[in-house]
């Protein structure tokens, strides 16, 4: 399993004991989020909808690429990848 880094945005750090990033083993974006959320359900509930999809205004980038333009939660991860959770600039 590849070891990856998940960067946590400021509004969600209170749900991750203040961590700015977390290291998890994962083969896909979905697995990385599941790992991050296993002990932090309140964090995961703000990233994914009840149906298990990315919330509409939450973007996840692997490196500089938005996973919505890749394979979504099935996007594969490589050893050392950095995954950033970034709220979309929604509204005005």
């Amino acid at each position: 399993m590849n070891q990856v880094t998940v960067q946590i945005p400021a509004p969600l750090r209170s749900f991750a004991d203040g961590a700015t990033e977390l290291g998890v083993p994962a083969a896909t974006v979905g697995e990385a989020l599941a790992q991050v959320g296993e002990q932090r359900p309140a964090l995961l509930a703000r990233i994914l909808t009840p149906e298990g999809e990315l919330r509409p205004y939450v973007n996840v980038f692997v490196g500089e690429r938005n996973v919505r333009r890749l394979d979504g939660l099935r996007t594969p991860l490589a050893q050392g990848d950095v995954m950033a959770i970034i709220p979309a600039v929604a509204g005005g």
Partner: protein
């Protein structure tokens, strides 16, 4: 929270929760708690002093329930939220609109898409009330402009098997068996949103209130009038006459007197603001037969605001409290005789609750 006389107020706004506590100088404001979230509703279980629940929603981070164990000083998010089974509706959970606590600890939640849920473990898990959520008349329900919500959940304090709930749009429903089965409770109420004037269900009801001392007395504020029932919702009579407008969201009762009811009339479904820009609270002391403006101390011109359905509350000592879409909160300690400003320039106020037994 309070060191002065009277209840503290939980003020839910578009950007967090504020707590106003009376003190010698007037009101002391604390917050925002749950900052950045819309606080659509709050709930204080009668059997758990100091415990509060808040329904919080955020455009990016979704809808969640928070709980305080210390009268509102600190809040923690809960991992579970009431939601439909994925794939049942267009979304499992758009927003949590209403929280209600029954004697004995059971909690109810109303959500968008319209649905009722119950928890018997302090909101650690939620179960769908299928007798209502899958009601044969569900195909008469539809989203209203403000959303597609189940709200106004009431439990008979003397018989917790008797329940009422309202749906926008869908109408009022009642249960006599603890929520196993439900009956539409709209007989006598016009439905101007539908081609049939008096249908069984499908009404756009903005707010339902049950009188706690006489649970068979209900009032409902619809988007085209105000109605009263004296038989638990089986029949309704219109009590709009005497009000300056037939539209409105908020309605509340004096918990000591089933004949005293407060309302904030609005012009119509097009303008959705208080009539003629005058912020007026109307009061009836005879269960809606006659109405009187009780507005001394409120702005009498160019107040083009609205008072939303959860933003008006009362206490059992002549207290009446409300918040506006302009972020102002007003309090009366004499049954709406005179009004004073509690707070101004807050975010849009979505909900106001008077904590009758605050810590």
């Amino acid at each position: 929270m309070s060191t002065g006389d009277g209840p503290a107020l939980l003020i839910g706004t578009e950007k967090g929760l504020f707590i106003a506590a009376p003190d010698a100088a007037g009101w002391r404001l604390d917050g925002p708690h749950i900052a950045g979230y819309e606080i659509i509703h709050t709930c204080a279980p009668p059997d758990e002093p100091g415990v509060l629940y808040a329904a919080a929603s955020h455009k990016i981070w979704g809808s969640h329930i928070y709980r305080s164990e210390d009268g509102g000083r600190t809040w923690a998010t809960l991992p579970a939220a009431p939601q439909h089974a994925p794939g049942t509706h267009r979304t499992a959970l758009e927003a949590i609109w209403y929280l209600a606590a029954a004697p004995g600890g059971r909690l109810y939640a109303g959500i968008d898409p319209a649905g009722l849920f119950v928890s018997d473990d302090r909101a650690a898990s939620w179960q769908a009330v299928t007798g209502l959520n899958e009601h044969p008349t569900r195909d008469t329900w539809e989203p209203a402009r403000g959303g597609f919500s189940l709200h106004s959940i009431y439990i008979d304090p003397n018989d917790p098997a008797r329940l009422w709930a309202a749906i926008s749009a869908g109408g009022v429903y009642r249960s006599e068996d603890g929520g196993a089965s439900w009956t539409p409770a709209n007989h006598g109420v016009r439905a101007e949103n539908l081609p049939t004037p008096y249908p069984e269900s499908g009404h756009n009801v903005h707010r339902l209130v049950m009188h706690p001392a006489r649970p068979d007395r209900l009032y409902r504020q619809c988007y085209h009038g105000t109605w009263r029932s004296d038989d638990g919702g089986r029949h309704w009579i219109e009590i709009t006459a005497g009000l300056p407008g037939n539209f409105g969201y908020a309605i509340a009762v004096d918990p000591r007197d089933p004949g005293t009811v407060f309302q904030v009339p609005e012009s119509d479904s097009h303008m959705r603001a208080v009539v003629d820009g005058q912020l007026r609270v109307y009061c009836s002391r005879d269960a809606g037969a006659t109405w009187e403006s009780r507005s001394r101390g409120l702005p009498s011109a160019h107040a083009w605001i609205t008072v939303l359905r959860e933003a008006l509350d009362t206490d059992d000592a002549d207290g009446v409290f409300f918040g506006t879409s302009g972020g102002h909160v007003f309090a009366s300690r004499d049954g709406a005789g005179t009004w004073a400003l509690v707070a101004g320039f807050l975010p849009r106020v979505l909900s106001v609750k008077a904590l009758r037994e605050h810590t």
